[in-house]
């Protein structure tokens, strides 16, 4: 399985889910992720799985809830407007602690917006989205290869912590093609055992009840504290990031997903122009690598955060860095992707100011 295949991002992520042992998909077509849904419609019957095109994203997320109750691996993919409709269900899924994976191939918003790549669903993904005190793990892949690997990891994290996991991709990642090495097929029968809590029909055991519900505030507080303890574990064990040439850098770029990847080429060009810059790329957007970013930013003259939005992750960057150094922001929105030259210009401007 070390052969490289040229494949479109949406289809690569779908295939990765199947190889991770996912045999259940419920979803609703939406650009720019529809190839994901179509791929699942074609592939799942071939591997004995079940595909269903739901009547809405509201229904899709609740089908995910039902399927996840049985302890089976289940996934859906969507884009911003659809993911907004799923937020009610996300909250219930987080509250009922149901392992499940969501792929949001983000497009320009708000409202109907457009179908071009964007990162403006960062707040929605990382700060809740639905009601109540909950978090979903959020992974931000920068390349199709990384997306394929993170889909597999997303299922493992979901199973390990009984939590929803969001893969926050964007229209660029979904639509482009790249050579990819896929992982091995995992046997759905060898996956983590959820028989301690899952709903399968009670047989001869005591019935299981899975809910996000408790009418007694003291009991509900206890449930919430249990979620919080779990989130602490996730922060401790699952926080991921990548740094590129940060050691000798004077300035630090921060970006995630495909923006982080574009910043990789900015570094090369900037250094050719004598601007010694490095990159910090968070891979887990929740949990956000606050401490790690703080460490990387130490001793730098400024931080420049670049996003395909009007500035969302930059709030976390500021939380991480504090007042220790200036945090600048550059972003394009509405489906416009900042090109390396624009970022270089911003770098030159802030460098002049800093000198």
């Amino acid at each position: 399985m070390t052969e490289k295949t040229m494949v479109k991002g949406n289809e690569a992520m779908a295939e990765a889910a199947i190889r991770a042992g996912c045999r259940l998909y419920f979803g609703y077509p939406i650009t720019p992720q529809s190839e994901f849904t179509e791929y699942m419609a074609k592939r799942l019957p071939e591997v004995g799985g079940s595909f269903l095109q739901s009547e809405s994203e509201v229904s899709a997320v609740n089908m995910i809830y039902g399927a996840a109750c049985t302890g089976r691996r289940v996934l859906t993919s969507t884009s911003g407007p659809g993911f907004s409709l799923m937020q009610e269900g996300m909250s219930y899924i987080a509250g009922a602690e149901l392992p499940s994976v969501f792929v949001n191939v983000v497009r320009g918003g708000p409202g109907l917006g457009d179908i071009q790549p964007a990162q403006s669903d960062y707040f929605q993904a990382t700060k809740g989205g639905g009601h109540g005190d909950y978090h979903a793990v959020v992974l931000g892949p920068g390349t199709i290869q990384e997306a394929v690997e993170l889909i597999s990891d997303a299922f493992d994290i979901a199973d390990r912590y009984r939590t929803p996991v969001i893969v926050l991709a964007d229209g660029m990642l979904g639509q482009m093609m790249e050579p990819v090495i896929f992982g091995k097929y995992r046997d759905p029968d060898s996956l983590p055992d959820h028989s301690e809590w899952s709903l399968t029909g009670a047989g001869k055991r005591e019935p299981h009840k899975v809910t996000s519900f408790n009418i007694d505030p003291y009991e509900l507080e206890k449930m919430n504290m249990r979620y919080q303890a779990k989130y602490k574990e996730i922060i401790k064990n699952e926080t991921r990031y990548e740094t590129i040439r940060t050691e000798d850098a004077d300035y630090l770029l921060v970006g995630f997903g495909t923006m982080g990847r574009i910043l990789g080429s900015v570094i090369r060009q900037a250094r050719e122009q004598g601007i010694k810059v490095g990159l910090f790329r968070p891979i887990t957007l929740w949990p956000f690598p606050y401490d790690q970013l703080k460490k990387s930013a130490k001793g730098k003259k400024y931080v420049l955060d670049v996003e395909m939005s009007t500035g969302q992750m930059v709030e976390d960057v500021r939380l991480a860095v504090g007042d220790s150094l200036p945090v600048h922001f550059y972003g394009r929105t509405g489906g416009v992707v900042p090109n390396p030259e624009e970022v270089l210009q911003a770098l030159r401007k802030h460098t002049e100011e800093a000198e």
């Binding site: 419920f26 809830y65 289940v74 709903l199 399968t200 029909g201 996000s212």
Partner: protein, 251 residues
């Protein structure tokens, strides 16, 4: 001397006391469902999906695996379960606000897909849990806390007839509207429930039994008056009877 128990509560109930008001017929329908589960010997592979409404605790009253769906979404949750576990028996229990207002899309599409699940729909023409507001099935002229001058066509449109709407969907295998006022009605409802579950067991498609029920508290009546009001008013708007039966003789 020997003592024989001729009528006793079914095994598929957990034994937990119902949280319903005195005379509320939710409990009667719960017991009938459990009797059918006992009779069909499906307790060990049944999963129930409770709604949001007065019966939000229903998952605790049955001795089977269970969950609570978001308001109106039970048919979608049940769909996910059934697609994941094809040998399970999955049923949803929903009220009129849950099923016929906020959950209209979910119920219509689950029915139309012929989803192999069973829905028990309690229609008492009012929102119970939130304290007596207008339901999609509230009768014209009927007063509730959100139609205090009586429901009007001009403002609120007409009562929703769920069975009449669903009978046109291709995936329906069994569809009946019943009541549980008298012992005879109760026996009929039990038979309808058995057929609805049998439709699922035979893989024939989606099945639903709508039970016209009383809500003495929010109707502002005593339980006996409520049964009379149901006979005279609710049954006039919502005709009881069999709409679809692809099960045939289920014996």
């Amino acid at each position: 001397m020997s003592v024989l128990t001729t009528f006793k509560p079914p095994k598929a109930l957990s034994g937990k006391e119902f949280t319903y008001c005195p005379g509320c017929q939710h409990g009667t329908v719960h017991r009938l469902i459990a009797e059918v589960i006992d009779e069909l010997q499906i307790q060990g592979r049944t999963i129930m999906v409770a709604p949001v409404g007065c019966s939000v605790f229903a998952y605790e009253f049955f001795d089977v695996d269970g969950t609570v769906a978001a308001h109106g979404r039970a048919p979608a949750v049940a769909t996910g379960m059934k697609r994941a576990l094809k040998d399970s028996v999955v049923f949803t229990y929903q009220g009129d606000g849950d099923l016929a207002a906020i959950g209209t899309a979910e119920i219509v599409h689950a029915a139309n897909r012929g989803e192999k699940i069973t829905t028990i729909f309690i229609n008492n023409a009012i929102y119970g849990m939130t304290g007596g507001q207008m339901a999609p099935t509230t009768l014209l002229g009927m007063k509730t806390s959100t139609c205090p001058y009586g429901r009007t066509v001009e403002n609120d449109g007409y009562p929703v007839h769920v069975c009449e709407l669903l009978k046109e969907t291709g995936g329906i295998a069994y569809l009946e509207r019943t009541t549980v006022n008298t012992p005879q009605d109760i026996r009929k409802t039990r038979k309808a429930l058995r057929k609805a579950f049998t439709a699922q067991l035979k893989g024939l498609g989606f099945s639903l039994v709508e039970v016209l029920s009383t809500c003495p508290t929010n109707w502002g009546m005593n339980p006996i008056e409520a049964t009379e009001w149901l006979e005279e008013n609710l049954k006039r708007e919502f005709k009881v009877g069999l709409f679809v039966d692809k099960v045939g003789d289920d014996q």
